[in-house]
Amino acid sequence: MASEALGSVGVFVAILGGTLRGSVPFLFVSLGECLTEKSGKINLGLEGTLLTGAMSAYAVSFLLQGKLGSGLAPWIGVMASGLAGLCLGFIHAWLSQQRRVNDIAVGIAMIIFGSGVAFFLGKSFIQPKAPQLPTLDLGFWSTVPAVQSALKISPLFLFGMALAPVMHWFFRSTRWGLIVRAVGDSPDAALAMGISIPKVRMICIMVGSLFAGIGGSGLSLYYPGIWSENISSGQGLMAVALVIFARWNPIQCLWASLFFGGAQALGPALQAVGIDQGRYLFNAIPYLLTLVIMVLTCSPRKTLTGAPGALGEKS
């Protein structure tokens, strides 16, 4: 292995590569959750959306490769994952705005329903190999294979990186952004402005869910680039916690996603250089990290700075 020869530099390169690859789902899900929560609703079900997105992207890419060729098919797959996200988002938005319905409960149900749909419809796609999204080889300048493979970046990652500042600008400087923030911070004021709160929340939850679905396509069509039933293992959920850590700021969601991608890459990177002791414990690092961050950032007494005012209130 090339990374073994590089020693500690090899670990660093492997972590860097793993960070760039592994942060894609975190990034999309956290941006989607950020948009949802800015409108005052919580969507815990993005874990299910991520899985359904991954499955639909893989299935569509596999089914269309004959008709469209393996260049275009994965991109249609990405669109399909977004569409799947929109549908699940609609269910969540509609249900969570019913009378006496708790959006946390809807989220739990959507995790089970989303994974159920993904595994049920995706059973026949576990074996075949679907065409993958192309990657941009930013490591062309290096002769070391480890560096080259670490810097194979997905266009999805670049898209997500661009999306974060755009969302930041959207919230800060546009009329629509102001409307979303008003609905999330002070529904009464929004109502006085003549805004339809259910409509705004419906759109925000659906678009947020669309992002999460696209994040799922990153899992199945980029890294790890397969469709299997344990492909996500809680990344959608961690991304929800990550939004709290990022203080509902899209730019900070980007940094936090990179951080989590790195934490997740630690275990495999150490394994690649032969440190195999306690690899399952290393795999638990992202979950522990999420817990620790929540312990550090939460407070029993006051609401968090940056939290939308109406977040989690009964509608």
């Binding site: 019913q98 009378r99 149900a109 749909v117 049920f120 809680g234 929800v240 817990l291």
Partner: protein
Amino acid sequence: MFFTQTNWRPITEGICIPLGSLVLALVLFGVFVTILGNNPLTVYEAMHQTAFGNWRTFQGTLLRAAPLMLTALCTALPARMGLMIIGNEGALVIGGLGAVITGLLLSYGNLTPSLTATPTELSPLLIQLSMALAGILFGGAWIGIVGALKHYRGVNETISSLLMNYIAIALLNHLVEGPLKDPRSLNKPSSFAIPEPFMVGNIGDTRIHYGLIYGIIACLVAYILIQRTTFGFAARVAGGNMKAALVSGLPVGKLTLVICFLAGSCAGLAGMVEVAAVQSQANSSLIAGYGYSGILVAFVARYNPIAAAMVAILLGGIINSGGTLQRNFNMPDATVLLFQGLVFLVVIYSESLYGRFGWFRQSQSQ
């Protein structure tokens, strides 16, 4: 609980709406069944046959209902206090680990006995009780952490308990591949097995183990605790109106910690039952989804422990029929998961229906 002349209509509502939502979920499920090219009616008939058709298959249903009753309490008890805890799967795994560790230590004196080691002469009852106690303590401590994080740091209990599931599973994988590993388990890394005489036995000449009795007792005790004691009353007050509870001087922090411990101990006991009555060793078979299904049971039962015991039997039947669906209809193993998701969504929607139908209101004139 009891019908009187004036309250029978609201009680009928409480029975009709959940039943109606189950029927609606079955109809929606039929749509998915049709997509895969099966006739929904034949599938329903086969599910009913496997789940409740005859005594032999019904035993399988009860076997699955036993852990579900216990894991359901892990969500139902804190929910009465307004806490949404979904760490059932993790607490079950930790309880199972606690039970297997205790069982091995008591019967062999160490965790990795040599292959020729003979178990001790201790009474099986003592060892079973110790394993149950270990499951209760381990599971209780596990969800107790969630309660402590909630109380002392304001950490959202739903997210933290769900994260703890993944940590518990990582811990299980680590232990059965490392310190606890039985070298004979190659394909599926497992701990050493608890000796046969110390396992929890079956009731009479059935296939049903005593875990079902544990489950029923736990549900009864939980019902009495929540509905008939000062502690339960205080917890329900805090769940109904936290501000009122604080103003009236209820020890909300203590209540949170105790109810989380009790919740976790129920799921931990479910882990003990799975280890000491079914699997005999700790391995990845512990992660069979009983934790997640327990959440659904608690929801459908509207957090009522007695109702949870009954819903557990119903859902146990659905899980039991999963094998038949795979074998006879060539449906994916996730079919049961999908069905559970549909039931969950419909039941949540049905919450908004309470009070919408005028017929169910009790008549004002009397």
